[in-house]
């Protein structure tokens, strides 16, 4: 079996994103530049009451953005639709690549669960014999990869993972290995998650949700803001990208994947798994801590994550590398987060501008790093890490490098 060849460089040749602060890269990046979050009242479940009321919803008319016909869209869950919109932007940017050799790799924590919930409620009323099943066929977490592969006629294969909040990062790492092993020639890799009642309620019963917009790394932080969205990168082997004249946005030079093996929902206090993931990404890329100029943190806003992650970053990189939480803009997009934040990290490298952590009034004592409060910071950025951690203790760190324009 071919070993993933570490000398093969991975080029990012396309990126697409949709989340609460924008329907595409331009809108999202404009919001970042202008320090403009979008966290507002939850509207997706009218008539249902939750202990908190805020969310970072995708306000846009997602169906209007879909590049496929209505009939095909009807069978797709909201997570699928968000995925297809984001993939569409990424694929359009990447240009002509061999579609029959393109694999789709998606991370999602819930897939079409909101449609599954609707189905469940409908069944309670109508009985299982009289509730139409067509919308629930896309409930499984394999739905988004299948939907993207179908929408763009991609024949290289489909991979999906549901590794909680680390899913999107895991999907991108998995795709890199597939390319380095030459099992496929192109990968569309990222994540998607639509808001659903189970997760909105579930994080609330865990008391992990802030009643106000989240304040990552702040002394007063109280938890996450739930969000939704999708994002994909188009990845190719560097030489293939150059040979077909593709524009290269950034390089994915390494990734690390670890597990805390500690607790089903809480990270290890010391951030040991997170630290190991970051070190592993550096090792794979052949880079040192000093080569990393920015960390796009997981930065959820929970007491536990932000302190453990700060320790991990300090241990892996030292205390001088700035780290910010872009979840302060668009909330925690769960399975999509790894993909959404990878796109943010690529944009940061392209524009040499680090996104800020919004609403950071006073960093907690256990959070001693430079979190780039309030305003984006123009800075020379050679390489940047994107961290994604999840329930079950999975940690993924993606390491990207800027390309000279």
């Amino acid at each position: 079996m071919r070993t993933p060849d570490p000398t093969i460089r991975i080029a990012v040749t396309g990126a697409g994103i949709i989340c609460s602060i924008g329907r595409n890269k331009d809108e999202v990046w404009r919001s970042i530049r202008e320090s403009r979050a979008n966290i507002a009242k939850l509207t997706r479940f009218p008539g249902e009451t939750f202990p908190t009321e805020l969310a970072a919803e995708v306000d846009a008319d997602v169906d209007a953005l879909l590049p496929i016909d209505r009939r095909a869209a009807k069978r797709m869950s909201r997570s699928d639709r968000l995925a297809v919109v984001a993939a569409s932007e990424a694929i359009a940017q990447a240009g002509a690549f061999p579609r029959e050799r393109a694999v789709v790799s998606t991370g999602t924590s819930t897939g079409g669960l909101v449609e599954g919930e609707d189905f469940y409620f409908a069944r309670l009323v109508r009985g299982r014999g009289r509730t139409p099943v067509s919308r629930v066929l896309q409930q499984p977490t394999s739905g988004p990869s299948d939907a993207v592969a179908r929408a763009f006629d991609l024949g290289g294969g489909v991979l999906s993972n549901a590794t909680a909040c680390a899913s999107g990062g895991a999907a991108i790492g998995m795709a890199a290995d597939v390319l380095r092993s030459k099992h496929a020639d192109v990968a569309i890799a990222g994540g998607t998650d639509a808001l659903c009642r189970l997760t909105y309620s579930g994080f609330n019963v865990l008391q992990a949700v802030d009643g106000e917009p989240c304040t990552p790394f702040d002394a007063q932080r109280k938890g996450i803001t739930l969000g939704e969205g999708a994002a994909y990168l188009v990845l190719e082997r560097w030489d293939d990208a150059v040979a077909r004249g593709a524009k290269i946005l950034a390089e994915l030079c390494g990734y690390g994947a670890t597990c805390d093996a500690h607790h089903p929902t809480a990270p290890h206090d010391d951030g040991r798994g997170a630290e190991a993931a970051m070190r592993s990404a550096l090792a794979e890329a052949g880079l040192e801590a000093d080569d990393v100029d920015y960390v796009n943190a997981h930065g959820t806003g929970t007491t536990l994550n932000d302190s453990a992650e700060s320790k991990a970053i300090a241990a892996a990189l030292g205390t001088r590398t700035p780290a910010s939480s872009s979840k302060s803009f668009f909330g925690h997009t769960l399975g999509a987060a790894g993909g959404v934040e990878a796109v943010i990290t690529v944009l940061a490298l392209m524009h040499q501008l680090a996104p800020p952590t919004l609403r950071l009034n006073e960093a907690a004592p256990e959070c001693p790093l430079d979190y780039i409060p309030h305003t984006p910071r123009p800075m020379a950025m050679r390489a940047a890490l994107s961290n994604t951690f999840g329930f079950g203790g999975s940690n993924v760190a993606l390491l990207f490098r800027a390309v000279s324009s």
Partner: protein, 376 residues
């Protein structure tokens, strides 16, 4: 070039297999078009898992934990070992249970523990905690191909040196929710007959299987993962198989090329009794092997479809290498004259050097793996 190709040893195997396909007694199937499944029976989680831990685990986690315990015994894997679990439907039942609480008690009062167990990677998380596995940890959810895709990922990690070893597995359970939806699609049969002339659908199954994979075998291996291929039949719809046997054949060949083998001594087929799925696979096998088709084994007449998301099929392939014997294809009785291939009907001894394992999903996803008896 150092270490550019490698085979990954499998040194342990644990399974919680279902009993034979039989009428479902776990939930009511009245009014549905199908009534049978391959269900796990006589499973006593307490035989494998401490009572305090059991409390926090849903059935998927229990099945996986038990299979992992059987695979490992008392062994400890080296530091940095990983976990890759596949599941087609994941934690559907826990999500249903959560929604039941949500409806009954409201969004604020559902039990937090149920939410923690509602993530598809809960089984993989419990296994990592139990055996202190701090390497990668991913849960692949690619339908019928999940466990093979998990194996592909885990072997890549081991081959590139990111982890010295891993638990590779799969788990699924038959739930009323999923069963009733599949029945409504008309996809199910009460008696799965892979490749058979009279086949009329697949039968769901459940269970778990876990394999121990190592870069450096710590004991006599059952066999080795030697190659993988991945692709997609673009003619497939959401819920059915396609007809592009050329594409399926290409993925089979890709796995064999990855393994650097020209022939295999057996094929563990994906066939499950579906009309289109079995047909596209049979034609693909004929394309690859022409007049020289190796013995074909269909296991999904025993395990049912999904059963451990392909992990039970992988387990059967490695057991065959270890035991030098091929199992019978339960459920097959009468060759279909329209198919160029038929599976073996009875168990037989077989000196196997390489076996091909196919996983062809409804929706078009294809993952193939080659398992070999030796390291080179």
């Amino acid at each position: 070039m150092l270490g550019m190709t490698q085979r990954i040893a499998v040194t342990g195997l644990g399974t919680i297999a279902p009993a034979a396909i039989a009428p479902i007694d776990r939930f009511d199937t009245a009014g549905l078009s199908a009534h049978a499944a391959a269900l796990v029976r006589d499973f006593r989680p307490r035989d494998f898992i401490a009572p305090m831990k059991l409390r926090r685990m849903n059935q998927l986690s229990r099945l996986t934990a038990a299979a992992a315990r059987l695979a490992l015994g008392e062994r400890k894997l080296p530091a940095g070992s990983g976990v890759a679990i596949g599941t087609a439907f994941g934690t559907v039942q826990t999500s249903v249970d959560y929604m039941q609480e949500y409806v009954a008690k409201g969004a604020a009062l559902a039990p937090p523990q149920l939410f923690a167990e509602s993530v598809a990677n809960a089984p993989g998380s419990h296994v990592a905690i139990e055996h202190d596995l701090r390497g990668f940890n991913v849960t692949v959810t690619q339908r019928e191909s999940s466990a093979l895709a998990a194996a592909m990922y885990a072997c890549a990690q081991i081959a590139k040196g990111a982890a010295p070893a891993a638990l590779i597995g799969g788990v699924d359970e038959v739930t009323e929710m999923v069963f009733s939806v599949l029945a409504r699609l008309g996809a199910l049969s009460d008696c799965a007959r892979p490749f058979d002339r009279r086949r009329d659908g697949f039968t769901p199954g459940e269970g778990s299987a876990v394999l121990v994979a190592e870069a450096l075998p710590s004991s006599e291996p059952l066999g080795y993962f030697s190659g993988f291929g991945i692709g997609r039949d673009t003619t497939a719809t959401i819920s059915d198989w396609g007809a592009d046997d050329a594409r399926v054949a290409a993925v089979m060949r890709a796995a064999m090329d990855d393994a650097e083998v020209e022939r295999v001594d057996a094929i563990f087929a994906s066939a499950n009794g579906s009309r289109r799925g079995d047909a596209v696979e049979a034609r693909a096998i004929a394309r690859v092997f022409g007049d020289n088709v190796p013995p074909v084994v269909a296991t999904k007449g025993s395990f049912g479809e999904y059963a451990a998301a392909g992990a039970l099929q992988l387990a059967a392939a490695f057991a065959a290498l270890r035991d030098r014997a091929l199992p019978a294809s339960v459920g097959f009785e009468e060759k279909d004259p329209e198919l160029p291939v038929a599976p073996i009907e009875s168990a037989r001894p077989a000196a196997l050097r390489h076996v091909l394992v196919n996983s062809i999903s409804a929706g078009g996803g294809i993952v193939c793996a080659v398992a070999s008896a030796t390291s080179s």
